[in-house]
Structures are given as C-alpha cells and as structure tokens.
Amino acid sequence: MDKIARIDMGAPEGPKVTVGSLGEYAGLGGRAMTSLVVAAEVHPLAHALGAENKLVISPGMLSGTTGSMTGRLSVGCKSPLTGTIKESNAGGQAAQVLARLGYAAVILEGKPVGDDLYKIVIDKDGIQVIVDNSLKLMDNYPLVARLRQEYGDKVAYMTIGSAGERKLLAASIACTDPELRPTRHCGRGGVGAVMGAKRVKAIIINDAGTKMRPPKDPDAYRDANRKFVEGLRKHPVTGEGLPAYGTNVLTNVLNEAGGYPTNNFKTGQFSGSADLSGETQAALEIARGGSATHGCHRGCVIQCSGIYNDKDGNYVTKQPEYETVWSHGGHCGISNLDTVAKLDYMDDNIGVDTIEMGVTIGVAMEAGLAEFGDDAAAIRLLEEVEKGTPLGRVLGCGAAVTGKVFGVERVPVVKDQALPAYDPRAVQGIGVTYATTTQGADHTAGYAIATNILKVGGDVDPLKTEGQIELSRNLQIATAAIDSTGMCLFIAFAIMDQPETFQALLDMLGSFHGISMTGDDVVALGKKVLSAERDFNTRAGFTKHHDRLPRFFYNEPIAPHNQVFMMKDEELDDVFNW
C-alpha cells in the first residue's frame, strides 16, 4: 500500500483522479489513516454534506496479506449525524482487494454540481469515474445484482442504497461479502450520506492481476500468522462461542444481567429474550438449511456470521448480529426472529445502520406512531424510509431527529448517535465510553479488551471505582490501535487471555513491515489517533458538556436493579487526561 488516490468529484471538467505517494501518512491504515486525514484536511466547521468534507476509505495495515482476520475496511469523514469526526468500519471483501491494488487510501473530495450519479471502477490499470444515471435510487441488493452483470463476480463492491442517495443521516455504505451480498456495512454516523452527497453510487474494486501483499520477512510472517490462528482457534470465545452462535449469544446474558434495554430503555429485561437469543437463532438457522457459522470475508477463522433462511429454506439475510436483534427486537418489544431478519434485510437493502434504525423505530413507538411489540408496524415504518416519504426521511435521519420532531423526551443518543444494546445504568462502565467517545455513542469505541496485556496506562485495579474511568480510557486507546490494523475487533478475546497470541499479533505487524513492534508502540498509535480525533471535535465546537448521557439515565432507575447512571461529570472529564 504505497499510494493514495484522491478523486475530486467537484473538479470543473468533471471528476478528476490524482494518485500520489503516502507522504506524511506513510505507515498508516484503517482508522489511523481516516482520522488523521480528516483531522488534517477537513475544516472542522464544514457542512458534513458539503464539498469541504472528505470521505476517506482505507484498508487496515495488514489488509491484503495472507494474514487471518485482516479484512476490516475503515471509512472516515465528518459525520452528518453527530457533527464529530467519524470512523466506521466493516468486514467484507473490499479491504483485501483495495489493499492488493496498493491503495492505502481512496479519498473522495469535493462535490459535483449537477445531478449525475457516478460509479468508480478501481483496478490494476487505474481509476475510472463513470456517469451512470441508470443506477439512481436503486437499493443495495438489486444494485449489486445489476453491477455484477457488468463487472462480474471476481470483484468487491461498495455501494449505497436509496438512503445514501437521499442523504439520510442513518445511511450506511455496504461492502459485499464473499458471496457478493451487500451485507457488511460501515453503518454508523451517516457515512453513506456523505458518499451520496458526493454523488457516488458504487465503487467497483477489481484486483485481477495483483498478488497478495508481500511481507518484509515472509517466513516470520507465516509463522506468526500460524500461531495467531492457533490462538484464535483454541480460545473458547473465538474458537467455540462465536462460531456456534455469533454475537447474538449475548442476548441471554445481557437480559440475565438486567442490562438489556427494553421498550426504548424503560426496563432492563425482556420477557421475549429467549425467543431472540443466539442459541435459538442458531438452531433455527441450521434447521432451515441456513448456517450459523460463516465468515464475512475470506481469511476469517472466527466465522461469527451465518445465513438466515425463511421457513421454506430461502435466503432472507445474513445472520443478524446481537445489536441488530436487540434494536429491532427487545428495544421495540418484538420477539419474532423472522421479523428481525426481515428488518435486517431491509436495512441492508435500503442502506441504513441497523442500530440507528432500530433505536429510531423504538423512539417512534415511544412517540405513539406504533405500539411496542407491533411487528407489522415496525416493518411499515421502515417501508416509509424505503419509499422516501416525508415520514421516512425523518425516521431515516435517526433517533435524535425523530425524537425532536415528535417531542419525545427519552431519546437514547450521545452526540445524536443512538446507543447500542447495553444499558449504561446496569453496566456503568460502558456508559463512560458511550459518553466520552469521539464518535458518539458507540460500543465498539472501547471494545478492544486487551488493555490488561497492553498495560495501557499501567496496571489498574478493576475492583476500585476509579477503575471504570481508567478502563474506559484504556479500552478506547487499545481500540483505536486495533481499528488501524484492519484486524477484526473480535481478536481481542484471544489476545486478552493468551499472551502468546498477542505476541503473535505483534510479530505479524513487525515481520510484515520489517520493524520491531511492542505493546508500547500499539498504545502510542492509539493515543495518536484519539488525540487527533479529540482535537478535531474540539475545533468543531464540542466541549466536555457533550460528553454526557441523556438526563433520563441519571433520573430514571431501571429494573431489575433499580439503578441510575452514577458516574460524576468530573470523572467523565478525566477520561482523556493522559
């Protein structure tokens, strides 16, 4: 990955492609690349849907290699949903293919004047930007099917559905999986709306004629990767739990802990949770001829995804993840997996974030647009988004906008981004991350549970109160670093518990780039990324007062533990003091 492509969509003579060297961005990938470019090059007060914003697409530092789990793709910009800096990442094939073509980043800049819609074709011969107005308002599944007729099956597609074209704030960017289904989404923060604002409907990435990226020390890299894979396979989470049940294995546990937000965060337990659980879902998938074990990109050994079929054995959608099952399920009082699967398919097809959309429907239910537990109404509301009706445009702009339009007080957002599936009154520590992350409420912002082995910030006593602040800080640092490698965050379970697996990861990075890497280097990278993101947000007008949860979390105790969020403001303000 030795070059960066910049595509000026607003150039006077039409879109203009410039390919240059890495310059100051040498050695970066994934979130490090997207955030440092946005922080340096985007005016923090720019309108997120305007010409000044940039959409940065970057594979991870190890993407495109023979290494396992290296297929995450980061997309960054100023978020139209939150107004903050944004990095959203996804699996699928795009990262591997783009990296093999040598691009450390593809940056969409500017904004065309007219209504023309474009597709971008990237292959070994270069980059073409082509007008294709026949694709207008197509949704992701039919869009990819159409593109496959022209570009075939040996490419990766990045696309936006109608939501992105309409610049809805919940719009995502879809990346195709190995079966060329548009199921893996850079979902959070409205990155699809930014791509839509630049009038780019699809990016077709063809790595024909390229080879795997060569490591500096092939033997050492191969050996490190072998040890890394062994570590993943022998760990009970990455080798057993996730392959068997996927992330939805969390439903039962969160419900048991009383931390499963139900009916728009009114209570912490849902009576229908067993019907939605990963255990139930996996059994159903297998019984219907689908699969409970499936990888989102080639080279994945965890295989946490699956295939969800209907009762007649026909494909409905990929295995909905825990957050999706929650947002469209318990959050809305819905306990039917078939309904959740249909909504998941619709989200992927329209191109919206499943967390934002599910939370929004729950807020709409709170507003009285439907009853909690009304499956048909939930589908009907999402159909409004699909059709682009005025109501659908409101809903498609997320929970915060919907709450304002309908006068709802209990709106679970931070920096206008919907909270994920863990109630911060039951799990106080995750509330610290929700409140303070640079990204708006985001469970994956502090997800890399490897801080103990990284020794980020020194040893922490996890049984002391102040540990929650330090743990959140350290988790956010570690996550920013792993998000930069292109590694799936789920590797964190194995590297947390198995020092030899963490060492194997360091050895992969070191042998590939011909450097010696230590845990300190990883920590330094994470801090560098977070500092740049915080600085951007500060210049965009965000202060410590934005690092707070909505007041209802402080005022409304949640059953069964009857707790409120108890972290003090001054403690939250201490998260980024390092």
Partner: protein, 179 residues
C-alpha cells in the same frame, strides 16, 4: 416431600429438544444454604476444573458472581451458568474478570455462609455452550414440573416414558441419554 417421578431415557440426539427449556430455567431440588461452589461441585458433581475453566459467567438472581465460594444459594435462588462471552460486556460479566469494575452496582456481594443445609428448590438456567455440555447432567439430576408443563414437554416424546408412582400436582422428571 415426595413427588411422582417420571423417567425419560432418550437418544442423545434428542437433547436439543430441552435447550429452550434449559435457557429459560428448570426448577431442580437441591440442598440449599450452601455455597454455589458446593452446589456445582458436590451436588451436581461438576468437576472443579470444568467449573473453573468453562463456567466463566455466572449469575445468581440477576447479579453477576465473582466468588463461587462466597455466594450463598438459597431456596428459590436463580442460578444461571454461561460459557465465556464475546464483547466488552461479555468480558465485563466474566467471573472475577479484569473488567468487573465496569459492572459495579449490580455485582453479587459476598455472602456469609454458615454451611447448614436444608432441602429446597432452585432454578437453574444454562446458556450457550453449556447447554450441550451440562444439560444432560442437570436433566439427570431431575427437574420439578407441574402437570401442564410435563404434558407439554412429553408431547415431544410419545411412548418414551414411564411413570413410577401415583399422580400428584407436581412431578420430578429425570432424563437420561443413551451414549
């Protein structure tokens, strides 16, 4: 308390029929007033090594447990057993885990245990990998059902069971599986 006993002897492949029931919890007779460790290792005869390494997430009455030796099991307690969970919150719920601080406020506080046991009932829930691994053991130990629950369950196994005593309001169902 003497209950009518119903015994089922099933093919191993029929274990998963019980998974929905085990997820929602089965009521089992037990000596209560003891530690959770004692319940698992002494009464259920789960090997200590398995308890230490596989049952990594435990709840009693919705509260995540860190110390099995200092967690009291009482009549009516709800004991939930799970394998290792993914995600930050999964790691947070882990027994004695590095991230236990993140769930302060809901964790199970250490109990004082005097060691005087008496008979009672507890509800046991099994999740994820433990369904297949501990399900046979819990089902063999016996679960207490009312007649309606039993009737609904036995519809899955026509002609595969035998009653061993007279009808009463509740029954003790034991299930064994062929190798």
């Amino acid at each position: 308390m003497t209950l009518e006993t119903v015994a089922l002897h099933l093919a191993a492949g029929q274990l998963n029929t019980f998974f929905p029931l085990l997820q929602q919890g089965v009521v089992v007779p037990a000596t209560v007033g003891c530690s959770l460790k004692s319940l698992l290792c002494d009464q259920f005869a789960i090997p200590a090594e398995y308890v230490a390494n596989r049952i990594t997430t435990v709840f009693v009455d919705n509260r995540p447990v860190d110390d099995l030796d200092r967690t009291l099991v009482q009549d009516g307690s709800r004991v939930t057993l799970s394998g290792a969970m993914p995600g930050l919150v999964g790691a947070t719920m882990r027994r004695g885990g590095f991230y236990a601080a993140l769930r302060q406020g809901i964790s199970h506080a250490a109990d004082h245990i005097e060691g005087v046991g008496e008979r009672g009932c507890i509800r046991v829930k099994l999740f994820n990998l433990l369904l297949g691994e501990l399900g046979p053991l819990i089902l063999a130990h016996g679960q207490i059902l009312d007649q309606d629950e039993l009737t609904a369950l036995l519809r899955h196994f026509p002609g595969q069971y035998k009653k061993t005593s007279a009808d009463t309001g509740r029954v003790l169902l034991t299930v064994s599986f062929m190798e």
